[in-house]
Point group: C2
Chain length 328, copies 2
């Protein structure tokens, strides 16, 4: 009696969900839905069908939770409300500013259908949000800091690749160690964008390209690079493939706060992630919340939920007695 | 319309709760209950009465949540079930092995009375448990490590003070940095007790005491010190008061795990606390969960709960819209 999972979208995130399901014996993959021609999509799990996303409705009764693995810019704002009419759904919607709007859309659809839709799951938004929230609840007089990296920013890598003369490239976001130390020391610094992160670019130029111009175009690019100290390295395509094919990421959430009669006692709460693969880790978080979506819906709950609304025990395979005995 | 809090037991923890209430404008202190003669207990908050614990029942209607600030060895196993018959209660019961029994006792009393009893709140058990649980849920193939310190262990300090020739003393538990590094590097080491922590003792000897004998008695003490590398420093009472009067603590929870087709991708999740005052931080956590106890009970929930059973949003003063907009 395992929880039957469907995957919508078979890119890095969808593959990560497939790996993660294999690590959880109470979850089983029942179907993959794709916008591509299903006959062109080969998945790893044996004897699991790949369907066109257009046929999803016909398989609604075979799936307990559909994990949506599309992008936040164009896919999820449409897909999550749409599929919440048919399935319990979980997504990794990560456009922070549009979360309230996305929540309202998913809530309406899920409530009408009697389904659960869990949005914005992953690590930021996700586990980082959780730590920010516990930190605020426990140390109301304090200050939050979030640092990202060292890791690959897909958006910044894409931006590099749009520069004239660039054949390929990858960008790493790197937290400034001295800024982290000042925060950990309880100095409560006011940090500018430039003081928090640096950006390191590995660029494969086209043959005969003007390297000085490429470097200038990158470093002065508004929004993406102009507010940061940026380093540009020119490398070969072979080096890029050999040394920069991974999608690592991570970061730090730190809350510093004070307690006591005169707020004289200092405390530091720190959470950090060092992820070998950003999409694989995000997929693993999605799977834990798929378990929660199933359980909540089985209890009669419907509507949109975020990581803030779900009691931690819903995420774990173990029953409450086991959790209290072994993890508390 | 603030949540009316009562404190039972006015030691370090009770005082910490009083400080924490002052930082949360939706909580107000309504009464302190003590086993001492109430006339001898002076509290900081103006115009708040101190009552004998024997009169608690008479004030049940004035209190929304009673925070129990007694010890886990003798007080809480009796007090929490007893007062859950009259109040919503929160405690910091920290005897890990006896949690299932304590849970059952509190659950029975609280259910019969229609109250909520939240147990084992603080940082370990508490926030550390939570991180262990999220870590297990998200990375099912992995390994947990918990390190404590650098911080004062009350139990070990008490043990030192029982040694012949010792006038006063304080003991610090210190995590071994090289062990922490091995864990962070994903080596998944099997660590012995000795490899994880060292113990450092600051001892004030009685005049004319045999220092060599004291050092030997401490270092060979079974359960407390014999399994550790222990350092003993002899100091004066003045030095002890000047340099070792605080009650700092903290520690690290690390989960390392793997994902991917062949479990080849490594991830590290790390949470750490650096606490200027162990009881003041614990008190702050208790207050956040007092808010949750009140809200849950107002929704009609009763029975015993742990940190695993409570959706994070219940801990925060902000409403769900604000949480989604600002912390997610």
């Amino acid at each position: 009696m395992s929880i039957r999972i469907g995957i919508l979208g078979y890119g890095n995130l969808g593959k990560g969900v497939e790996y993660a399901i294999a690590q959880n014996d109470d979850l089983s993959l029942k179907a993959v839905f794709t916008r591509r021609d299903p006959s062109t999509v080969k998945i790893m799990t044996k004897d699991v069908p790949v369907y066109s996303v257009n046929d999803a409705a016909a398989h609604a009764s075979e799936i307990d939770v559909l994990i949506l693995c599309g992008g936040s810019a164009n896919d999820l704002p449409v897909q999550t409300p749409e599929f919440a009419k048919l399935f319990n759904v979980v997504d990794s919607f990560d456009t922070h500013a549009r979360i309230p709007e996305h929540f309202a859309n998913v809530d309406k659809a899920a409530k009408e259908a009697g389904k659960v839709g869990i949005i914005s799951i992953g690590w930021d938004p996700g586990l980082f949000s959780l730590i920010r929230m516990y930190g605020n609840a426990v140390l109301p007089e304090g200050k939050d800091y979030t640092f990202w990296g060292k890791g690959v920013s897909q958006g910044h890598s894409d931006a590099i690749r749009r520069v004239k003369g660039v054949k390929n490239g990858k960008q790493y976001t790197i937290p400034v160690e001295s800024a982290l130390e000042r925060v950990r020391n309880g100095e409560n610094p006011e940090l500018t964008t430039r003081e928090k992160h640096t950006r390191e670019c590995f660029v494969v130029p086209e043959e005969g390209a003007d390297l000085a111009q490429i470097e200038k175009d990158i470093k002065t690019m508004p929004n993406y690079f102009s507010d940061y100290d940026t380093t540009v390295h020119f490398i070969t395509e072979e080096e890029l493939i050999k040394n920069h094919s991974g999608i690592p990421h991570g970061g730090f959430v730190i809350r510093t706060g004070t307690t006591g009669e005169n707020n004289q006692t200092k405390h530091t709460v720190e959470f950090s992630l060092k992820l070998g693969s950003n999409p694989e880790f995000t997929s693993s978080v999605l799977c834990a919340f798929a378990r929660a979506a199933y359980r909540l819906n089985a209890e009669g709950v419907s509507g949109c939920k975020t990581i803030f609304d779900i009691a931690p025990a819903y995420l774990c395979k173990q029953n409450p007695d086991e959790l209290r005995s072994h993890l508390l």
